[in-house]
């Protein structure tokens, strides 16, 4: 059997979605960002909305997300993505608008924008990638850093008395009347990847209903910042992050 006999459209089982560009991703090997990008891009492709999706990139590791999503993108100032997305959706209600932020961006410097966009019930999708650390700036303590967790700015471990508590912002926004769908997902096993994609699809479908924010937290890893191998970091995530940030839907629309 020759190569040409195998490479046929009917034999295709997987391909890269055209909603991701050809640019080589800058993410560390083993990082969850690439996967999460792919899932969003696949959902956009499957829904046929590439022509009318507007993306807001954050400041943080995913600051260059606009180089990877083949949709019109804007790069926000640190923490301000929900403010941009608010105006974008209100000015172009015919477009699908999503923001993509990390924990420092969404839950520290941008807390006010996050809370108020969620409370107003902006009709947007907010993707929140939580790996408990500032990856891009070199592994400093984040609002979601776990108690006792060592980072560049908590070198002896996060001391609650000294540094305050990890912030469970997803549970917090779920309390607000403006959020329609709030869920926490992960992407470190194939089964979880499929589940996460389903949640992203639900979030984008919700935007057709004009019912408010669909908020997806993805608990992810940072093998460089955590100073672990990719495999070890996924084990660490399961053993340490998930007890604090348990997976599953937090707020689902009433049927």
């Amino acid at each position: 059997m020759k190569r040409e006999d195998i490479v046929k459209p009917e034999n295709l089982v997987y391909r890269r979605t055209p909603v991701l560009t050809d640019n080589v991703m800058h993410y560390c090997p083993g990082c969850g960002h690439g996967l999460i990008h792919r899932l969003i891009a696949e959902v956009i492709e499957e829904m046929g909305i590439q022509d009318n999706t507007l993306a807001v990139a954050p400041v943080g590791c995913s600051v260059l997300a606009y180089n990877y999503f083949d949709v019109d993108c804007v790069e926000a100032a640190h923490g301000r993505a929900p403010a941009l997305a608010t105006a974008m959706k209100r000015l172009r209600p015919d477009q699908f608008v999503f923001s993509y932020q990390g924990d420092g961006d969404l839950a520290a410097i941008g807390t006010a924008e996050t809370i108020h966009a969620c409370n107003r019930g902006e009709n947007i999708v907010m993707i929140f990638v939580n790996n408990g650390i500032y990856g891009m700036t070199g592994g400093q303590m984040a609002p979601t850093t776990l108690e006792g967790m060592k980072t560049a700015t908590s070198p002896y471990g996060r001391d609650i008395e000294l540094m305050g508590n990890p912030l469970k912002i997803t549970e917090l926004v779920a309390q607000l009347p403006g959020t329609y769908y709030v869920t926490r997902q992960a992407v470190y096993t194939p089964a979880l990847v499929r589940k996460c994609k389903k949640a992203i699809r639900t979030a984008f479908e919700n935007q057709k209903l004009n019912k408010g924010v669909s908020f997806i937290e993805v608990v992810s890893n940072c093998n460089s910042g955590w100073k672990l191998t990719p495999v070890k970091s996924n084990e660490w995530l399961e053993q340490n992050m998930l007890p604090k940030y348990p997976l599953g839907d937090i707020k689902v629309p009433e049927k």
Binding site: D51, V63, L64, D70, D72, L84, A87, L91
Partner: protein, 359 residues
């Protein structure tokens, strides 16, 4: 059809925005400019032109909503007063870096800090010298009449879109609060999404197969590329400096002395030059309408035939530096100002002419 209305300066900003087809206003209350948002909410422009009006959670959010809207090629604006505009500097710098149009109105009050709610012109440096980080410029219009508050909204957007650069209307608590008659236009329709797509290829209008995706960003990680961005910006600023200087001269033909003043200080100085001329002092007034680009050439030209120049400002002396840069050693330049919310009287200005430049 033109129509005459009696309104506050702040209301004129709002009315100008609705009638010239602005797409969105995002703001946060602060004295002495809250009437802008109040008037917009009362007028329901979303029913008249489809304009979006939103009270944001902060000035930080307001300017970033403007940044988001501007990235779509929409005519979007915010307004605030000094402490609020300080909070907006980050967003203004991002917009300048990403080369986005947009309008910020500053109805200046006395500072520093929480300062006072009374009028001031002490945000001149912040506006024309930077304010935010990086090498950038803001096209700055300084209205002296309520009519100009109305007119300059449309003018600001015209210049802002022409050069893909944010613009500022630098007003103050006097012009914001005073009521004057204003000639208003009919409601102009907002730009359609199709118009924006055809005319602004840099705007996010939804990627279609016929073009690459649009990226709006102020980030260039490679130094050489960021230098190229800066060189492009500087070249643009030079074109603006050559083409967009605006100013007004009053009683300058036979003047031996000159007052340079903008905004409400120009109104006070207008009266002051009348009083001075009654006393036989030949003094004229040059009112910069654009503060950046500054009318340096015009002031330099005039200075050759003058005995002295007085910069009248409601600040401790900010614009006076640009006047001095404009005239060099041609003629002495002095500053007169009251500040912290105090408005000088015309007779104080006349005394200052005598004391500071006629000695």
């Amino acid at each position: 059809m033109k129509e005459l209305k009696l309104m506050k300066g702040n209301e004129a900003i709002a009315e100008g925005a609705i009638r010239c087809g602005v797409d969105g206003y995002f703001g946060y209350p602060i004295t002495p400019q809250s009437e802008v948002l109040e008037h917009l909410m009362a007028e329901k422009p979303y029913e008249k032109t489809g304009m979006v009006v939103l009270q944001a959670e902060s000035e930080v959010a307001s300017i970033n909503m403007v940044y988001g809207g501007a990235a779509l090629g929409k005519k979007v604006m915010t307004s605030s007063s000094s402490p609020g505009v300080s909070l907006m500097q980050e967003g203004i710098s991002y917009m300048a870096g990403a080369e986005l149009p947009g309008l910020v109105v500053n109805v200046v009050r006395g500072g520093p800090g929480l300062g006072t709610i009374q009028p001031s012109q002490a945000d001149y440096f912040q506006t024309v010298k930077g304010g935010g980080h990086g090498d950038y410029r803001l096209i700055t219009l300084a209205p002296a009449f309520v009519q100009e508050m109305y007119d300059f909204v449309e003018l600001a957007f015209e210049l802002s879109f022409k050069y893909r650069n944010p613009a500022m209307i630098l007003s103050d608590g006097v012009i914001g609060q005073v009521m004057e008659k204003v000639e208003v236009d009919d409601y102009k329709p907002r730009w359609t999404n199709e118009y924006i797509r055809e005319n602004f290829p840099w705007a996010m209008t939804g990627k279609t197969p016929d073009r690459p995706h649009v990226i709006v960003t102020s980030l260039q990680l490679e130094a050489a590329k960021q230098e190229a961005v800066n060189l492009r910006l500087q070249a643009k600023y030079k074109v603006i400096e050559e083409n967009e200087v605006r100013y007004e001269k009053t009683m300058c033909d036979d003047a031996e002395y000159l007052i340079v003043a903008y905004g409400s200080s120009a109104r006070i100085s207008q009266k002051a030059i009348e009083l001075a001329r009654e006393q036989g002092i030949k003094v004229g007034l040059l009112r910069p309408i654009t503060l950046w680009p500054f009318p340096s050439k015009a002031i330099n030209e005039m200075s050759k035939n003058l005995k002295g120049i007085l910069s009248v400002e409601m600040s401790a002396g900010q614009m006076v530096e640009d006047v001095r840069l404009a005239v060099g050693d041609n003629v002495p330049v002095e500053h007169f100002g009251r500040f912290g919310g105090i408005i000088p009287s015309p007779s104080e200005v006349v005394e200052a002419i005598k004391e500071k430049i006629m000695k």
